[in-house]
Symmetry: C2
Subunit: 278 residues, 2 copies
């Protein structure tokens, strides 16, 4: 595996690489990321993974400084996974003027769901992904469905700005007890880790009710919120949304996604389940 | 010359085209545009010109509906100029969802100079140029220096978003009496056309004073404004700015640009001169 640190070297490698699949990450890699890499290997002969902890997408009071940097372990995992190039730029490479002056501004959905609790987060994601796309110029890029709103925004951005890159969504990896794999799980105490699957179990309970024909979204959301709060969670949101647009779901909607974000101690976890009624 | 109307056909042509130079236009072509095409032919073996009257960059009360559509005359000029492809998408191709949801948002300079009088204009320019760049994927793109603020914003955008396209600025074409070539000159009455070179002559007078070592920018701006207003112009702005950053120029600045926008009857004209003191 080649480790490339500059934009110029990345572009030089790209010119002769043929079809390329790309997995942008912030490092601290777990099995969920490796599932993205496996999908990428199915999509193209060459796979590029980037590791860049993007300051732009962290809000005030968020954990940019404390975000785990685990380069040695990450690069070993990527070698084992058969990645061709690890693109590992430093801040100076991506933000040479320190401040990012031009931003890719997503529409109102950036201020809903997670965006309501993380102002500017999705602008920062859209902007850095645009920059990475412009540098790596992949044919296809893989994103996890765990960050469903992010995947939605990237897909919409690519369509709306005519970016010629195919976006592949990859199913959420889960621990045996159902907890969605996430870098942030590493912050959980043993007691919190034991409690953490409750988020998914509540989403799964809503899925069961939806599949049974129930359309009382507000009632389901309220029941899940109460169960989590009764067990010490602080719930940011639990919402049933249209899967394709992420707009508010109407009763009887055939394809929805149920999204949630909630905090256990200091750790904010997100998860979602996709529900299709045919 | 091949006329391509769809994004898919444009991409298919691009795949085998080799090195491509691109000139985006809104049509109603004049000798200034043809100078851009000549520069493009110097830059690459294949030249693509686009014609698209971009609704996004027109403000309320501006002339989107009345903007001249002169496709037959334009395409003949491009054939004569040796252009390889005319990319001529319709609104449905570039704005299939009618509304553009994602925008490329330039920094504060978008709200100064022309931007102070045309809210949203440079956001619309940055966004459509990003879309066209993503579709045509040129190696180099040519823009006229007459629209100096636009050229500045495109250059800054390309650097800041890591777009791998070289931007060439092309000198302003002028009539013999000094008037900068512009599609909007066609709106002038014969009397206005006779008066119109006064804008350039005032900029040129400021250039002479700057080259003579004068740094009283405010005094020069005021003198030019008074001369124009005395001859029936409505002046939007006349300003001496740093050439590289477009920020406010300090006394003794070595490389400045003097920019102006003023209205003669219903027609808004812009022009600028570049002044370097070594």
């Amino acid at each position: 595996m080649e480790i490339i640190r500059t934009i110029a070297d990345m572009r030089a490698w790209r010119k002769t690489a043929g079809r390329v699949a790309f997995v942008p990450t912030m490092g601290n890699l777990h099995a969920g990321h490796l599932a993205l890499v496996r999908e990428a290997r199915q999509q193209a002969s060459k796979v590029v993974v980037s590791i860049f902890v993007n300051r732009l997408q962290f809000g005030q009071g968020e954990d940019f400084g404390a975000y785990p940097r685990t380069f040695e372990a990450d690069s070993q995992k990527l070698i084992d996974a058969g990645v061709d190039v690890l693109f590992f730029p430093d801040e100076q490479a991506l933000y040479p003027r320190v401040k990012q002056d031009f931003n890719v501004e997503p529409p109102h959905i950036q201020n809903e769901l997670c965006g309501a609790f993380r102002p500017g987060h999705f602008r920062g994601v859209a902007t850095v992904v645009t920059k990475l796309f412009n540098i790596v110029e992949p044919d296809v890029a893989c994103f996890g469905k765990k960050d469903f709103q992010q995947l939605h925004i990237i897909r919409a951005m690519v369509a709306d700005l005519d970016v010629d890159i195919e976006i592949k969504g990859v199913d959420t990896g889960r621990a045996e007890d159902g907890l969605a794999l996430s870098s942030r799980n590493g912050y959980l105490s043993p007691a919190e880790r034991a409690e953490a699957p409750r988020l998914f179990h509540n989403l799964d309970a809503i899925r069961q009710r939806l599949l049974a024909g129930d359309s009382d979204y507000a009632g389901m959301e309220q029941a899940a919120r109460q169960d989590l709060e009764a067990h010490g969670w602080q719930v940011d949101y639990i919402e049933v949304r249209q899967a394709d647009t992420l707009e508010i779901a109407h009763a009887g909607e055939r394809h929805v996604v149920v999204l949630a974000a909630a905090r256990l101690g200091k750790t904010r976890l997100i998860d979602n389940v996709d529900v299709r009624r045919d």
